[in-house]
Symmetry: C2
Subunit: 229 residues, 2 copies
């Protein structure tokens, strides 16, 4: 067997299959990515830092994810996967109501969508790292995962909310309906976009427990009042 006939080692992990320990390493890198990207933001986070956090050497990131960008996208997909199961069901129900529901149905569906949005945004299954990353990619909309979230979730959500607002107010889908939808989404978004500021204003440490229901109740009341105008 000559030197030149010898196959070189793979530069990238296999698309399917692979050893169990590779799966475990991959998950460990994603966890590290969620933490470091969440703490530092996309640009400031370095692949070396993430590798250190994961307990691997830097080229492992290229092996499993191709590039820094690929890892960021994988982290974004992870967040989408863990937070949108309930959310997707709610959106599907809303679409059905848009097809054949009335004013009150529209209002209820909108409130359900906003509840689900709050859950998806603030409570990324209980890990502070995940929550911080989720907040980051909402801010960094031109980062890889940020753009993914916009295309996959935020834009469809705006569209559905605008249609629900029109239905809930019995009015056409015009500029006013869309403006109102943006304003209503903004009420919910404030809590994750300005998370630290909101916690400070309220003197809270987190949004867990009964506070969650308190926030939802306030937002629901505001939404219903605003759309009764």
């Amino acid at each position: 067997m000559s030197e030149t006939a010898r196959e070189t080692a793979p530069r990238r992990s296999p698309t399917a299959g692979g050893y169990a320990r590779g799966e475990e390493t991959r998950a460990r890198i994603i966890a590290a990515g969620l933490k470091v990207f969440g703490d530092e933001g996309y640009e400031r986070a370095s692949t070396r830092q993430i590798a250190r956090e994961a307990g691997v050497m830097p080229p492992a990131l290229q092996y499993y994810f191709d590039s820094k960008e690929g890892l960021h996208l994988a982290c974004g997909q992870f967040i989408i996967d863990i937070s949108t199961k309930g959310f997707t069901l709610t959106l599907e129900k809303a679409e059905a109501i848009l097809a054949e529901g009335g004013v009150q149905d529209g209002l209820n569906a909108l409130c359900d969508v906003l509840d689900a949005l709050l859950d998806a945004s603030l409570f990324a299954r209980g890990s502070p790292d995940w929550e911080r990353f989720a907040a980051r990619i909402q801010s960094e909309r031109d980062s890889p995962a940020g753009a993914l979230i916009q295309a996959r979730i935020a834009e469809p959500l705006r569209d559905i909310c605008a249609r629900l607002v029109a239905q809930a107010t019995g009015s056409p889908l015009n500029d006013e309906a869309r403006l109102r939808a943006m304003a209503i989404i903004g009420q919910v978004s404030a809590f994750h976009v300005y998370r630290e500021g909101a916690l400070q204003l309220l003197g809270w440490q987190d949004f867990n427990g009964p506070r969650r229901e308190t926030i939802k109740a306030v937002l629901r009341a505001h939404t219903q009042a605003a759309l009764a105008v």
Copy 2:
């Protein structure tokens, strides 16, 4: 005159005075900073890129601003200066009303504050570069200028709005008042935080002209309805 007795050239510009062409160069660098930081964000923007945009050599940035961070802070201060004159007056009027006004006064003051916030956020005196930078630092809250804006403007604003909500609803300054204030600020914030998304949903190119008043009217109606609950 020996070599060693010769004074070295200054590494930094003088605190006061300086030549007129120095003032002009300084302004040119700030303009370039607003553009590049606005386009790229703090971390991705490079001092070389900014220098190129300004038509100077990179060490000029250290000469006038000490560091990349110093330039970012100067840009933030620039935005604060051009956008908060009217805003500061409105906040002062609001403080007076908090001292001795009634429910309706509180509601009107709150609406005025929100109008002023929208003006400060969306219409940074008409330059797209300024607007983009202003949006950036709202997102990048841990960047130098982002932290400046939070400390100088966003936090005091939240506090005043919470107090105005309490006054406008004739209720104590409790968690609910603060939650409602966050929600109401969020309505306004949505338009600059999600600027591209809002413009897309609406099919608009910008928020200029009569659209500005349309947004304000919608937000005012929502705020009044929400606080009537």
